[in-house]
Amino acid sequence: MEILETFGFTWAKFLSQVIIVLVVYFILSKFAFGPVLAMLEARRTRIIEGEENLKKIQEDLEKAEERVQSMLDEANQDAERLINDARDSAEAVRVERTKEATREAEQIVERAREASRVEHEAAMSELKRDFGRLVIDATSKVTGKVLDDDDQKRINEETAGQVAL
């Protein structure tokens, strides 16, 4: 104790300083350490929550991406199926149209052929008639005889029978 007193120790001053130290202890604990540590803890909690939210958002994003990918795959399959259906339908239509066109063309050809045949027959009849008339004219001029109807008919039939065009 004597040593301490040599360096200026006295109980009164010492107790005053103890009180000051306790006051500082109280002030810093109440106004600095308490609020600041609580704030640091609150910030730490918030960061942890943020991290968890971020993780959850990433997981949701991954799930959404998977869902989108699945939907895309499904849509691609649907689209492919629709394209194939369309292609098949188009092929069927094309075949049908081709058949129809062929059929129409055949009908046209047939009609043309029929018309040609009718015209040919008409032309032949006309020709036979004209030829018969020429034969009758020639016969009447050669024979100098006026041919009656029976003669003309017979000559026509004979001429027509002989002329095979």
Binding site: F7, V18, V21, F31, V36
Partner: protein, 288 residues
């Protein structure tokens, strides 16, 4: 003509004693407050004012003052936690951080202009003192009463933490009991040695506040003395006078002011670290 006047302590080296002597003097015969108590009160008020300003409206996104206070407290908490462990840190941190912040503030406050150079003394005229006997301001930690108060308060809190952690019997066993996991006959054979070691440990614990307080007091008071010595070096060693004595009294201490800034921080760190280590040693469960 010598008169007792308040004034600027200019001519230091008529006395080699810094800050009014090794014992902090009362500011007046009628007032029991010493200059170091006065400075301690100023430091306390300054700390209160600053932390209130910084933490009055705390926000998740801090302003500059809040950010600075958070930085200091978070750093100190990390250091304390690293030494005493996560379990004890919440109990030990408030006192250890108080000790560090108060000591470093008080040490650096002592380097401000006017501390040790404004006060009452004897001189030829008003305003100029040749021999200072009562400085108005003295670094709070350059007073043994303050450093001892810090150490004694710490020791009480240390004892409370130790007993709370280990229990009263656990603390006694921790001090006097066998260490190193000994058992059986060897344990019984070595018990007297451990008891003797425990007595030595108790003596060392009793002397802890003395060593803590004298180390801090000695370093800060020596720093004050060094600055006073450097201030008077030109006049007393080189026999300079007038303007040159004044100039050297300003220039010579400057490098030592930087050193004292370092010493102030270092002594605050040493005091706090030792306190933390004492807590760690007394609350360690490893040996049980």
């Amino acid at each position: 003509m010598d008169i007792n006047v308040p004034g600027i302590y200019f001519n230091h080296m008529t006395s080699i004693l810094a800050a009014g002597g090794i014992s902090a003097p009362e500011l007046s015969d009628k007032i029991w407050i010493t200059n170091s108590i006065f400075v301690a009160a100023i430091v306390t008020i300054a700390l209160l004012f600053f932390v209130r300003m910084a933490t009055k409206k705390m926000q998740l996104i801090p302003n500059r003052k809040q950010n600075f206070v958070e930085l200091v407290i978070e750093f100190l908490y990390g250091q304390v936690e690293g030494i005493v462990g996560k379990h004890v840190a919440p109990k030990a941190f408030p006192l250890l951080a108080t000790i560090f912040i108060f000591i470093i503030t008080a040490n650096w406050f002592g380097l401000l202009p006017g501390v040790g150079t404004l006060g009452w003394g004897e001189g030829p005229s008003h305003g100029v003192i040749e021999e200072m006997h009562t400085p108005l301001l003295r670094p709070a930690t350059a007073d043994l009463n303050m450093t001892l108060a810090l150490a004694v308060v710490f020791m009480f809190v240390w004892l409370w933490i130790s007993v709370r952690e280990l229990g009263l019997w656990g603390t006694i066993v921790h001090i006097f009991g066998p260490k190193g996991g000994l058992a059986g006959k060897l344990k019984l054979a070595l018990m007297p040695i451990f008891l003797f070691v425990g007595v030595i440990e108790v003596v060392s614990i009793i002397f802890r506040p003395v060593s803590l307080s004298l180390r801090l007091f000695g370093n800060i008071y020596a720093g004050e003395t060094l600055l006073v010595t450097m201030s008077g070096l030109g006049e007393n060693v080189f026999n300079l006078g007038g303007f040159w004595a004044f100039l050297t009294s300003v220039l010579f201490p400057i490098p030592f002011y930087f050193m004292e800034i370092l010493v102030g921080a270092l002594q605050a760190t040493v005091f706090t670290l030792l306190c933390a280590v004492y807590i760690k040693l007394s609350t360690s469960h490893e040996e049980h």
